[in-house]
Amino acid sequence: MAVLPTTHYEASAADDYLPLLRRAQTGDFAAFESLVGQLQGRVYGVAYRILGHVQDAEDVVQQTFLSVIEHIDGFRGESAVATWVLRIATNFALKSLRKKRGLPTVSLDTVDESFADVPHPQYIAHWRESADSRLDRSELRELLDRAIAELDDKYRVVFVLRDIEEMSTEETAEALGLSISNVKVRLLRARMQLRERLTRELGDDATRVEPDHRH
C-alpha cells in the first residue's frame, strides 16, 4: 500500500473534483465512478510515462483507485483532489519502478544535485516550421515517448509531474520526497536533455548556431 503523505498546500479554490469526492465520501458510488472516469486518463498517463509499460501502468491505475477508496475518509482537502490522486499514483509507480530495477526502497535517490553539473546545449537551432506537423501523429508520439523513456528515472518523474501534470515545484518535491532545489535541478536536466533530443530531430540545420560558451 502506498504511503499517503500529508500536505500543507492549499487546494485550488476551483477544485472541480471536490464535490464528487465529498459525495463519494458519503458512500455515493456513482460519484466515485464519475471521479474515476475523469481522472483515470491522467493517472494512466502518469503511470505509463513513468513506467513505459502498459501492463505495469494498468496495475498502477488499479492500485491507485483502490487506495483512494481505502483512504477516502482521510482526504481533508489540504491539496487539490487531482494532486492527491496523482501523488498516490506516483508512489505506486515509483514502487513498481524500484521493483523492476531490483531496488528495495520506493523513493528515488535524494542526493542533492547541482546546477553546475547540468549539461550545456550542443545542438541549437530553430525548429522547422510546423515541426510537429512534419511527422504524423503516431510518429510524433513515438518520438516523444522514446525521448522521455531515455531520461534517467529520477529526471523523467520530475518532468512528468512538473511539466506535463503541472504540479507546483513544492507539490512535486513533497510527492517525491525531494528538496525543492533538487526538483529544480532535475527538472532543468530533464528539459535540457529532451530539448537536445527533440531539436536534433526537429531542428532546421540551416539555422543551427554554435553555442558560445565564451560569454
Binding site: F29, Y44, F115, I124, W127, I148, L188, R191, L194
Partner: protein, 83 residues
Amino acid sequence: MTCEEMLKALNDVIDDQSALALCTEFADHLAGCNPCQLVVDNIRKTIQLYKDEQPYPMPEAFQDRFRDAHKAKWKVKFPHAEV
C-alpha cells in the same frame, strides 16, 4: 549575465512569464544572445509538445476488470451503500 548564469536561471525564465520583465539581466542577455534565445524557445516548444499529446487510451477489457474491483472494494468500505 553570462550564458552559464542564464543556464542556471532557465527554469525561472521558462516558468515565470514575468521573470524577464522583473529581471533586466535576463532580458538584456537574451536580447543579445541568439543561442540562449533558441534554447529557451526550444524548451518551451518541447514542453508544449508533451502537454499537447493526446491522452493514452486505456484498454476496454481492463476498464471492465477495473470497475469490478472497485465495486468489490466499495462494498467492503461502505457495506450499506448502493452499488
